[in-house]
Point group: C2
Chain length 111, copies 2
DNA sequence: CGCTTTCCCTTGCTTACCGAGGGAAGCGGG
DNA sequence: CCCGCTTCCCTCGGTAAGCAAGGGAAAGCG
């Protein structure tokens, strides 16, 4: 099945970049943070998160650095790059454009 | 490539159902209407539209009927069913929930 | 009689995500 | 001291969704 009832396809990159724009975090914490700030609405699984992060890193929008986590474990902290920040702005603008269009259709009443 | 810059994945069903909730239409007209009401923002191709309609019909949310179009051609008019209307409400509610959550994340500033 | 427009459809591909799996290291309790 | 729980890392195989590119037919018009 695998129906994404707790995520909108194509928005994961945007969400990750936005979270990292506020503060560098490791993968696991990103998932937790996303869940927390969205009040449990947005939930992303490991199997989605890690590949997405690797893709973003490969595209140069984030960089990784191994550090010690708060719980004294090795963790790969991701940080937004300058191109990443610009990309985030583009993605955010595009989301706003599309979300507004869709919402306007959803709210349509008889002409 | 095929990057959906003019659509958000997973919202096509919702958009189609909503358009049909206002007025029965044939496939080609649905595409036009969607483009029109969204001020050119939402554009859906043939290759997306027809399979989506067939799927919706197969699931019982819409029904089809051959008629003459305004331009005197044969056209398959789709109409929302009662279960389809209920499904539309669920999908719309889910969209609102997720879109609000995503938008709230996108608008985040430093805590 | 070609040309454009309006309408129908399918096939193969890519992207994006998920579920299920596996592993290692710190930490606390018994 | 070991065992289980949590935290953290990752990959693989599958599925869903949409798109580009193909195809066709019939109406109307010059």
């Amino acid at each position: 099945m695998s129906k994404p009832s707790d995520l909108v396809q194509g928005t994961l990159d945007l969400l990750i970049l936005k979270i990292l724009a506020l503060e560098p975090l490791h993968a696991w914490a990103i998932g937790q943070r996303l869940k927390q700030v969205s009040k449990e609405v947005l939930q992303v699984s490991d199997g989605s998160l890690y590949p997405a992060l690797h893709k973003l890193e490969h595209e140069g929008w984030i960089t990784a650095e191994w550090k010690q986590s708060d719980n004294n474990r090795r963790a790969k902290y991701y940080r937004l790059t300058a191109p990443g920040r610009r990309h985030l702005e583009r993605e955010a603008a595009n989301w706003n454009r599309l979300a507004a269009a869709i919402s306007s259709v959803v709210k349509l009443k008889e002409a």
